[in-house]
């Protein structure tokens, strides 16, 4: 087991390296660098730009160095000092801006994962056990529908329904009174009051997919001879179901974490933009639109790294629950 974990950890290193290079390429993609934009801004406002200031800033950010050196400098800053660079637009270090937002993103993604799993498994089981019943058809139809509706449309639809039918404005994770308040039990309650809608909106697409997988897995298991044997022994139908086929059907489900997690994080970003939640989504969009590339690159890097770590954890979980995997 330890050897398996160690091997997975070693394999993750090149992936992390590749992700950091991709994030760096995205930082470098827009034509010109941030200083060119800044200079154009100053010039349009009639301010004179001293050549000395520009040169000093170039040197400070290493903009006059070759690409690979800039990459090295960026990575060294992150790894050695936890320094992600400066957000040019907001004039603050990137680290100051991202951690609380990253925290909310992580919380939202984890809550969504829990919601998806807690709801998908029972529905999948029901759908398989009562195959071709009305509830199975209803679940199938809804699953196809939710797979076809993109998350941001779902978010807009949910906001429309909430504001027109229930007269509530939706947006943010807190009521205005609590946004800047220190953490307390009341603030937590307020958060719980707001968080369920985005969680459902983000989760529905993945939920639909998981229900279909759970149903297919369980149907495969239900027709196997060991189920008949257990039934012949006189085991109660419910105990039989939970003890054998469901347990086996759950294993392939764990391996889906590898793609559910990126899907949930993608969904979280776009839904946050629509519902203006204080997570990484709106910050990333704003940084990209303003070409604030250190902020944008750092966000993309951190989001991808979190996803890779999540996938790694899911691989290890899978190995723990299924001995066949860690032996190969």
């Amino acid at each position: 087991m330890l050897r398996y974990i160690a091997r997975r950890l070693v394999f993750a290193i090149p992936t992390l390296l590749a992700v950091s290079i991709i994030a760096f390429i995205i930082i470098q993609l827009p034509p010109g660098d941030y200083l060119t934009t800044l200079m154009a801004d100053w010039a349009s406002q009639g301010g004179a730009v001293e050549a000395g200031t520009v040169a000093a800033m170039r040197e400070r950010y290493g903009l006059d160095q070759p690409m690979y050196f800039q990459y090295y400098k960026w990575m060294a800053g992150i790894l050695l000092h936890g320094d992600f660079g400066i957000s040019f637009e907001l004039g603050k270090p990137v680290t100051e801006l991202i951690w609380s937002r990253l925290g909310f993103s992580l919380m939202l993604s984890l809550l969504t994962l829990c919601f998806v799993w807690a709801v998908a498994i029972p529905i999948g089981i029901l759908s398989a056990v009562r195959q071709y019943s009305i509830s199975d058809y209803a679940a199938t139809f809804l699953a196809f529908f939710f797979l076809a509706v993109p998350d941001f449309l779902m978010a807009l639809g949910a906001m429309y329904v909430m504001s027109v039918w229930f007269g509530q404005s939706v947006g943010g994770l807190f009521s205005p009174d609590y946004v800047d308040a220190p953490w307390s039990f009341a603030k937590l309650l307020d958060l719980a009051n707001h968080v369920w809608l985005p969680v459902i909106v983000i989760g529905l697409g993945s939920l639909a997919a998981l229900v279909r997988i759970m149903r297919a897995n369980l149907l495969d298991e239900l027709s196997k001879p060991y189920v008949t044997t257990a039934r012949a022994k006189g085991m109660s139908e419910f105990e039989l179901l939970i003890r054998y086929p469901v347990r086996l059907a759950l294993n392939p489900l764990i391996s889906t974490l590898g793609w559910i997690l990126p899907a949930v994080i993608s969904g979280e970003i776009i839904v946050s933009v629509v519902m203006s939640l204080p997570t990484t989504g709106p910050l990333l969009l704003r940084a990209l639109l303003a070409q604030d590339m250190y902020l944008a690159g750092s966000l993309i890097l951190l989001i991808s790294v979190l996803t890779i770590i999540g996938t790694l954890i899911s691989d290890i979980l899978l190995a723990m629950t299924d001995p066949r995997i860690r032996l190969t």
Binding site: P14, T15, A18, V19, I22, A23, I26, L29, P30, P31, Y132, T140, F144, F145, L147, A148, V149, P150, F152, L153, L156, G157, M159, Y160, S163, V164, S169, V170, G171, G205, S206, A209, R212, I213, A216, G258, W259, P262, A263, I265, S266, G267, I269, I270, V273, V274, L284, L285, L288, L289, Q291, A296, G297, L299, I300, I303, S304, T307, I308, T311
Partner: protein
Amino acid sequence: MTDIAQLPPATETDIDLRDSNIAVAGQWRLFWLKFKKHKIALVSLVVICCMYLIAAFADFIAPLDPNATNARFTYAPPQGLSLMHEGSFMPHVNQLKMTLNTESMRREFEPDPAKPLAVGFLVPSAPYNMLGFIPMETKLFGLVNAKPGDSLYVLGADRLGRDIFSRVVHGARISLSIGLVGVLMSLLLGVTIGGISGFFGGWVDLAIQRVIELLRSIPTIPLWMGLAAAIPVGWPPLRTYFVITLIVSLLGWTNLAREVRGKFLSLRGEDFVTAARLDGMSEIGIIFHHLVPSFMSHIIATVTLAIPTMILAETALSFLGIGLQPPIISWGVLLQEAQNIRAVAQAPWLLFTPAAAIVIAVLSLNFLGDGLRDAADPYESV
């Protein structure tokens, strides 16, 4: 995500294997026989064909110019089309009576049943070029003898008084074609890279598989956003369109590459391939003469399932304002208008009309792809 969404299997075979027609039927005939039994997929095929036809003949079908603004009719509601008027057949819409609500300072519209406006088919219009080169002066439908002040907003109007129906019809051109062009690009990438991976095997295969795994483990939206945001704002629309398509297909080819590689690996050892090789056929000849035709149907199914993801990606990027920009009309650009929830609460048709178009297109393509995939294994249950 769509590749795990399976329909309940088509009803079990009622084709008799001893029937001499079936026994000698070619691959494509078996494919069609099996596909035919998948009723939802068949209906979806018709829907998809209609949508692409509507997109192609958008100029003819849209009653109004999608860019024509009309300040009198900002946020005009949909005018329901009725077929009968006072007991006789006369397709018509009711004229909108506008009142200014002095309290909210908004225009309010009320249909006036006393003033029906006749709607006719093949009505004369201002000259235009259908498909860009056929000069026409007729539209599919429109108001008969329209007077100034008459309006025909089948599905409502937006904040500039532009006709939503005409805009959705025109938006289908961009949104649906991005799916096709994007899929062609990923097909090219996927088949080439997957083919190389499956055919050569060894370390080439290993390296390509690692790259694919890497691309699949990164959340797509932030990556797309990062790439799309690098497109300069001043670029001409056509260039933006192609770059967006390229970005969308840049991550879409991985599924196809895996599929092609898997097929190459499993077919490489088949008897008919060995036979061809012993016959002295060249490797290239084997690939294009024996391998490619035998997994063509699988490719078509996978490609169909890839189109909706491309459509959704374009829609999401344009909606966020970093994809296509107005004056280009695509479904995502139309949804930009629906970003403001207050505007949507006042005029829900801004959101629901383009949304319905997207959902219908994606749903039908998913069903169609599922049906094709089931039919791609003709020997399984026929």
